[in-house]
Structures are given as C-alpha cells and as structure tokens.
Assembly symmetry: C2
Homo-oligomer: 211 residues x 2
C-alpha cells in the first residue's frame, strides 16, 4: 500500500517536471517482443525530424534496446532492473535527470516486457499505451485486463502477419473498449508502415494539446 502511495507521489513529480520542459511522455507496455522498440523506430522514421525524440529504455538486463535507439542518433537512457518486472516512478525520475529534456519534444518510456505489473505503477507519463501483437492471439485482453484498464491507447501490432495467423482484430478491440470505454485503438505494422501515420497524428495532436 505505502509502496504504491510513494510511487504515486513520485509520478506526480515526474509529470510536473515533464510539463515544465514541455515534453510529451509516452509509456509503452506489452508482452516481451510485441514490438515496442520497433514501433519507436517506425515512428522516428516517419517523423523525419518534425519532433525531437528521446527514449528511456527499461529491461531486466542488457542494453540491446538502447543500442537500437542510439543507432538512430537519439538521446537514450537504459534502466536495468535486475529482476524487477516493471519500471516505477523513482527509476524514471532518475532517468529524467540523465536526459537533455530541453532538447526533447516527445519522450518514449519503453517499459519492461510484461502484460501485468506495468499497469500497476504510474510513471508520470501523459500517455500510457499497450501493444498486443497479432501473433499472441485474440483472446488476451480479457485474460490480462489490469493493464488495459490503465491505458489511454491500445495498438494491435505486426498487422503484416495477419495472413499467417488466426487473429480477429475486432475481438480484442471490443474487449478493450468494455474494460475502458474511451480507449483509443490503432492497428499497425512497424515493418510495413501500415497504420503508423494514424498513430503519429494521435501523438502530434496530444503534443499540441500539451502546449
């Protein structure tokens, strides 16, 4: 109980800190390998410099994802959690002080790959999103409800693989809207580019609303 209360207080402080610097922060959550880093890569590619992007990466071990982001020439900070299965507000607070926030418009916080606990720890981001890949199955929203209730947007990813799997996109979308009526849903492919523009316009509109 106290743990979550302390986390809430730190999350509020993070949000204030981000607002002061005019940074839109987006928390990306999903199962391992659902395509969080790939989505960041696709969004950055399609932005072609329209916004200045920074990234906080969260993983148990390695800095493989940070290397992928560094290769794009972006400021990135890697949080290594050891055996903690989610990021929390204190970890993000420390990372915020390691990044040049005055030269960042859009900050992605890529959470640890886990479809449960990241939905319990507010990080202080303006937007929280869940990714579900078409290869995981269309029955997962009702099975892992906690994280979908917490999110503001929901991306169905790897849509280019739809011809090879049995996945009915309408089912998870319907189930997600039952859990959270105002959830914004997107269907996209980081590989083929389909749906990335629509997601990008959503982020740009949210960023515009911020200033």
């Amino acid at each position: 109980r106290n743990l979550l209360a302390a986390n809430e207080a730190q999350a509020r402080e993070n949000r204030e800190h981000l607002m002061e610097h005019g940074v839109l922060a987006v928390n990306l959550m999903s199962s391992p390998g659902a395509g969080k880093t790939s989505l960041i890569e696709a969004v950055v590619d399609s932005l072609s410099g329209k916004l200045r992007v920074g990234v906080i990466e969260g993983d148990l071990a390695t800095d493989r994802d940070a290397e992928r982001i560094r290769a794009l020439g972006l400021p990135v900070w890697q949080i290594t959690t050891g055996s903690t299965c989610h990021l929390d507000a204190a970890m993000v607070h420390e990372a915020l002080h390691r990044l040049p926030l005055d030269s960042i418009d859009l900050l992605f916080v890529e959470n640890v790959g886990n479809l449960v606990c990241p939905g319990l720890y507010d990080l202080g981001c303006h937007l929280n999103g869940v990714l579900l890949s078409v290869t995981e199955g269309d029955d997962k929203v009702a099975k892992y409800p906690v994280i979908f209730r917490y999110a503001q947007f929901f991306c169905i990813t790897k849509s280019d693989l739809l011809p090879y799997v049995s996945f009915d996109s309408s089912k998870p979308q319907r189930e997600a809207r039952i859990l959270k009526g105002d959830l914004k849903t997107f269907s996209l492919s980081a590989k083929g580019g389909e749906g990335v523009e629509a997601f990008l316009s959503y982020l740009l509109a949210e960023r515009h609303a911020l200033s």
Copy 2:
C-alpha cells in the same frame, strides 16, 4: 525474503505430495500467447491416451484456457490470480487437492503469461520449462535471463512461422546454454506438429525415471 522462504517450504510439500501419487508435474512458463495451452493440446493429441493427463491453469482472469482443456476431456482446475503476475506454491497446493491425482500420470501447470516473475516462485513441479515463440524475436533470452536460469527445458515455439519472421534459432539456444549449461532445448510447432514427438519422448523419459 520470508515470502520466498514460505514458498520454498510449500513447494517441497507439493513435490512430496506429487511423488506419493506418482505424478510427473511440469510447470510451463512464457510470455502471454507464446503457445503454452497450444503445446498442451498438441502433446495430449500425440499421446493419444498413453498417459493420463491433468492440468492446472493459472490466469489473472477468465477460464478460457481451462475451457480449452476441458474440451479435451481432461481434469483441469483454473486458478484466477486477480492482479498477481505469477502462480505460487500455495495456489498450486490448493489446486492439487481439487484434482483426482490418483488418475493422473502427467500434470501440466500452465503459469500466468509472464517472462519474469514465474522464474522466482518454485511451485514444487519436477520440471520447469520456458517457451519462447519465434515471433517474439531472437534477442530475448539475455534480456529476460532470470526465468531461463530457473528452467530445466526451453522450447522454441511456432516454428511453422519461421518463413515469415527474422529469427535465428541458434542465438536464443546459445544464450540459454550460457545461462544454464544443462538446459534441454526443443524447437516445435504445436500447429504443424513438428518437434512435438521429440518433446514428448523427453517427458516420457522423465516420467519413467520418476517411478
């Protein structure tokens, strides 16, 4: 600390209870949607009654997976965890008392879909296995090391999708062996059946060693 110590004690009791009834228990862990339930379905199909199978299902919500197992005519007990991201020994202890263990040779315990915390809570099973699907990416073993160190076997799943993804099977296998030298690795498709026989022989040999 006390939590894990109490869990260890309960796990030992579970193992004794299973041994008394001559049941081989196998804990299946993976990310959400990596194919745990599908693997159970494929193994049961290929066993065609050679062994009597029972299942304990673990999920945050719904009994969707238990329904799939019930449809095979098998004894199954669904554990609903709410927001707990893993099964623990106490939950499994209660479930063991709900199953007809005297008419089960092989018991699958399907853990909550999570590639982190299930590797921290011993359930009292003889075998612990991790599934990684080819659609999650080949860089995940070193990124999520805790669960691979805990496991006795490692299945690369959905091998029928290899033609459509970029996945080098030798990389996760090599990285898993670095974490755990004696880890047994399998590559299989629950859909196409490839590799299921080899995995089944492993389970039959382990069951034989038990009696």
